[in-house]
Symmetry: C2
């Protein structure tokens, strides 16, 4: 199956043409984004918290300190909603009304599962490091038993999931195309700057290739 | 008062040293970020949706189509949580465990209020355009009655609000500083590229100054 099933919660209301459910689109957005926003309910109150995420197959992973309130909540298997958003640009129309933002976003509904098997936890953490900095896992010292115990990893199955996208120039009212208003797009992207060496870095150590490569790997297809 | 009151929901648990409640820090983050993630509860289920936001004084504004499910939900005054996150860089430590992300984030708890007075709605929409593109509101044709009717504006009071920040190099275990591992920061920022003119733009119209200025206005103090 190349597409996720559409459910009542993932069916788009308005602007259904902006929706996408195919794995390629959904995975591409999840893999390019570095952080997500996790929503859950605590004592009846909504709560949204940003955190890093990564993906292996049809599983999204989150992690954090075993002592954190969020991780302890998610580990109980409560319902959650995860949003991942890439902002691709401002859309400057000839009216405020038709001005917009170009974006690619994914929303996931489901429940997290605390990863208890040590092998899956280690494999997941490796995938996280390799997503950001391919080749770095082998450079790092292995995690200690104590570090692994202090880290909670949550697996969220990609089952109830949808993408939503807008791209391209503004779509103005036909009458407005004659106006003397500058219109178009301002492309936006997350870009890495020059790496900063740690003040206590051993002298003479070269910058690794995976940093130089960062912008190419995390850039939109047309960016 | 220069700081927001700390409440049980905004008091940080772990890592309390990363918290900030002063208006300058909170407003700076809200004003630099272009989008937020809004969490709310629908039929008992958490839901998170990305949308643009802007601020006037101690009020955060959201807007959207009056027909959208999210706007109709928020207009009823249900509880919401809004998270705004700026990702400032990767923190590459000498272990996976101490690797981190530099960020500045704000979380707001409260209830939205539908802006019903036409004057406040118009003033808010003007502030949104001027946040992104100062000077552009005067270039655009005024919104029509019908457009204003089709646009819901939600005001969220900044009352229960906190910021959380991490900056600077990794903090490694003392024993790890001797390892041959490249460590430091990879700065990240949202950057604008070259503006793209609308395919139907009238010939000869110059790019406005507010686009050239974008990166300077939306860059972190030390970026």
């Amino acid at each position: 199956m190349d597409s996720y099933e559409v459910t009542p919660r993932t069916r788009l209301g308005r602007l259904a043409k902006r929706g996408a459910y195919d794995r390629g689109t959904v995975h591409g957005i999840l893999d390019q984004a570095l952080i997500c926003h996790v929503g859950f309910v605590v004592d009846g109150h909504p709560r949204v918290i940003p955190t890093a995420h990564w993906r292996l197959g049809d599983t999204l992973y989150l992690h954090g300190s075993a002592a954190s309130r969020m991780m302890r909540s998610l580990a109980t298997g409560i319902e959650l909603s995860v949003a991942v958003t890439l902002m691709d640009g401002l859309v400057l129309a000839r009216s405020g009304f038709h001005s917009s933002i170009n974006y690619r976003s994914v929303v996931i509904h489901g429940r997290g599962r605390k990863v208890t098997r040590a092998a899956e936890r280690l494999r997941a953490l490796e995938a996280f490091v390799e997503k950001l900095t391919p080749g770095r896992w082998a450079e790092l010292r292995p995690p200690t038993e104590q570090e692994l115990k202090a880290t909670t990893v949550i697996a969220v199955p990609l089952a109830e999931v949808s993408a939503k996208l807008r791209a391209g120039p503004p779509v103005d009212d036909e009458d407005d195309y004659g106006l003397d208003v500058r219109a178009g797009e301002l492309p936006l992207a997350t870009r890495a700057g020059a790496p900063r060496a740690d003040p206590r870095l051993k002298p003479g150590m070269p910058a690794p290739a995976y940093l130089a490569d960062f912008n190419r790997r995390f850039t939109a297809p047309d960016g």
